[in-house]
Symmetry: C2
Subunit: 115 residues, 2 copies
């Protein structure tokens, strides 16, 4: 039962924020091809393993990843593949690009009252 107030929006925003980082997007993209261990994911980006671990925990806490323990390692996988739909929409947005709202006469912004 989703409440309809601001806390619902905060909850949603938190989940979206979990996806709003290039490294985490790469993790999600990679996991769409199959599950991976933390070490495997850490090879994808030139950051410290501890940083990757934190990124993964952000995704896990958001409910986007699930994981299973395999002896020493943890194997992560995409729990909600619908996040991949995000990405195709994002591509659309990128292709359309951002437009200035309207000209609004941006001629002499630097009001250089040149004599």
């Amino acid at each position: 039962m989703p409440d309809s107030g601001y806390s619902r929006l905060r909850r949603r925003a938190d989940i979206i924020a979990a996806l709003a980082h290039p490294t985490r997007l790469l993790v999600v993209e990679t996991l769409s091809e199959g599950s991976r261990t933390v070490s495997e994911l850490a090879e994808l980006v030139p950051v410290d393993m501890s940083t990757v671990s934190r990124h993964i925990s952000v995704l896990r806490n958001a409910g986007i990843l699930s994981c299973t323990v395999e002896g020493n390692r943890r194997r992560y996988s995409l729990k909600t593949p619908c996040v991949l739909n995000f990405l195709s929409c994002v591509e659309d947005i990128i292709e359309e690009g951002a437009e200035a709202c309207a000209p609004l006469h941006v001629s002499d912004r630097h009001r250089g009252s040149s004599s």
Copy 2:
């Protein structure tokens, strides 16, 4: 032609980040019902108008909103309605919830190195 490197991921992450805020989600949700002016949108949340204006500009710069000038006002609308699909996926994620990865025996965290 999307490049396939890290900058592509950064670009995507920026767009997703534009949606990762409760106020901005409310703006998007509201605009899904039709275009609104800044003042109208500012009535939705108890924050300063200048703050709402900034939120709107984040969405506009991300390419999510478009706007038309109407005399004194600016009327904003959803440029890429596919962002609404985000929200249904986010609902799914919320319903599933986040699980701890595995017990891993979190007994005595406070490593009291009793002699």
